[in-house]
């Protein structure tokens, strides 16, 4: 009996009889004439990221390194976030006085749902489309951590911001090859399902604050 696998592969090969035997996948030319390397000065790249990220109704503020703890404290206070979940490897200087910091060492879904918010870093951010990528690396935690709490405060360091999508994808390549799961975030959760009008706040965090450290 042929297996489904063998049969599908046989069907594919029969369907592709017109493809010359000696042709390889790489022989099919793919012109990459789109922008692959940014041209803006880095300060403008960071500013463009802030602008495009805010365009999704994320709240973006820019601070210098010294101002980061203050900005975190201020944002959490403004949101009334007292019990805050964090990845276990969140830098000590981000854990400011005030909130109760709850390290994620296997918190249950219910426990994650019950916190007021979550603070993480990120892997890379892309200016052109205002996105933030998390790949489970340093200060990011697992995916559920940034999904279940209703409020996400994400710290983006200026050197993590690239201008273009291809630059962002390239930076994530190593994690991809390591098989690490990723989330790319563009603003708080939203839907366009009612009359194609965008409404923020469905299942994911309804509020996204971004602090860019320049």
């Amino acid at each position: 009996m042929t297996t489904a696998r063998d049969e599908i592969l046989a069907r594919v090969r029969a369907a592709l009889r017109d493809v010359p035997r000696e042709e390889s996948s790489a022989d099919v030319a793919v012109p990459r004439d789109y922008r692959v390397e940014g041209t803006l000065p880095h300060a403008e790249v960071v500013a463009l990221f802030a602008e495009n990220c805010a365009d999704y109704r994320a709240n973006v503020r820019e601070v210098d390194a010294a101002g980061l703890p203050g900005a975190i404290a201020e944002a959490l206070a403004a949101r009334g976030a007292r019990r805050v979940a964090i990845p276990a490897d969140l830098p000590a200087e981000w854990r400011v006085e005030g909130p109760e910091w709850i390290e994620d060492r296997g918190l249950s879904h219910d426990e994650l749902s019950a916190v007021d918010g979550v603070v993480t870093g990120c892997a890379v951010a892309v200016a052109l489309n205002g996105t933030i990528a998390l790949d489970g690396g340093v200060a990011q935690g697992r995916r559920a951590l940034t999904l279940l709490p209703d409020y996400h405060l994400c710290v983006v360091r200026a050197e993590q911001v690239v201008e273009l999508v291809p630059e962002g994808i390239a930076r994530l390549r190593e994690s991809a090859l390591a098989g690490r799961p990723m989330t790319i975030v563009a603003g708080p959760s939203a839907t366009s399902d009612i009359e194609f009008n965008r409404v923020e706040g469905v299942h994911g965090p309804r509020t996204l604050d971004v602090v860019v450290v320049t």
Partner: protein, 499 residues
Amino acid sequence: MTTSASWPDVPAFPLAAKAALGDAQMRRNIGMATSTIREKRAGVVAEMPDWEALREAGRALKERTLRHLDEHLLTLEASVTRAGGVVHWARDGDEANAIVTRIAREKGVQEVVKVKSMATVEIELNEALEAAGITALETDLAELIVQLGRDRPSHILVPAIHRNRAEIRDIFRRTIGPETLSDEPAELAEAARRFLRERFLRAKVGVSGANFAVAETGAIAVLESEGNGRMCTTLPETLITVCGIEKLVPTWQDLEVFLQLLPRSSTAERMNPYTTLWSGAREDDGPREFHLVLLDNGRTDSLADELARQTLACIRCSACLNVCPVYERTGGHAYGSVYPGPIGAILTPQLAGMRAAGSLPFASSLCGACYEVCPVKIDIPTVLVHLRDRSNRERAAASLRGRLDPERLALKAVAKGFATRGRYERLQKLGRLGQWPVARKGTITRLPGELGGWTAARDLMPIPDQTFREWWVERERTSPRATRPASPATPPSTPGAGA
């Protein structure tokens, strides 16, 4: 019964379209929604100076994938397996449904949570699970609206596009409450959030489709907006993904093209709110068990047609639906197919066969707007014409009635008449003699008998007293080369039908 992309209870497109055109509310809803999204898309595409280069790269990448699909499928299988996932192969919808049902049964669940997936609608997975006593809960807002309203999807991206906010409010009031719900989109979204939250937290099995599957790394990509996709692919202990075999891209780098093309073409955003990418299964993050079901269900039939193969490049953005003048007027249900609009008109007949969906390639004016917006440059008009020919040939081959179809015979005669100059000119002369009973005041508004179908929606120009060809011949004869004026003589005012 084999499941297919075509709905057997919906009549052929011309009949279904006629009924749909009478639904003024639906037409208003679709008209509003598509004009909103068309404008937004134009805006986010215009800000990309390299849009055309991205389209060309997207087209070429899909060509590369499809021409060597066997190789890429094997690479994907190896990558997913290496990452701790289990790969299944399904020849058709029934086989895929059986695999998913078996896994869900093994887990002993009564309910699975689902993130919107066209492939699973195509194979009617929800119905198959239902038959096995398992509820498949749709979690995408529009899909939930369709499910709760016991309705069918009418759009690839926004299945409930035919419903306006007041209708959605009524469906929610009837089903998930509360009675006092208003028609504010934010409040409707909140109602869905409350209804689904507990279910996400308790779900043991999640089911998804795939926007892209990266052969090189085994990564599956799901692009979404609401966070329901993240919930379904992250929280359950077991995740099952049904993925059409054409969803592959060869390398990680290739995502740099599609992650730009898809959001701007579909929801008309620079990027959709959430994109989840995972490879296989892990102990420390997300589901501990991952099953990938690779689905054929007619795709290899499409692959075998050299010209129509490009249909499989589709990334399901739905830009072609939003610009299509036919879709805008008939809505999605008239197509009688999971995939409506221009892409449905070429995809469904190939997946489900001409017998089931042979009228769809004719559901187009061939205006070409779909080709212009397609992010992977599928030449939909050319494929439509090609499939019209296939549809006619297959119909003729299938039965005597098909061979004796009056339209077919008439067009065959026309083709003979157009084949040589002599025949064409003799036909014109004959036509001029024969047309007097039907030509009135310079137009033919109604042809007799079986030919009447042609004039039901259009007028014809009669053959004029002097055709362009006759005028030209006479001009050549009466104005000798030496004395011909610099500007040509005035041609007759009606150059002649078909001349």
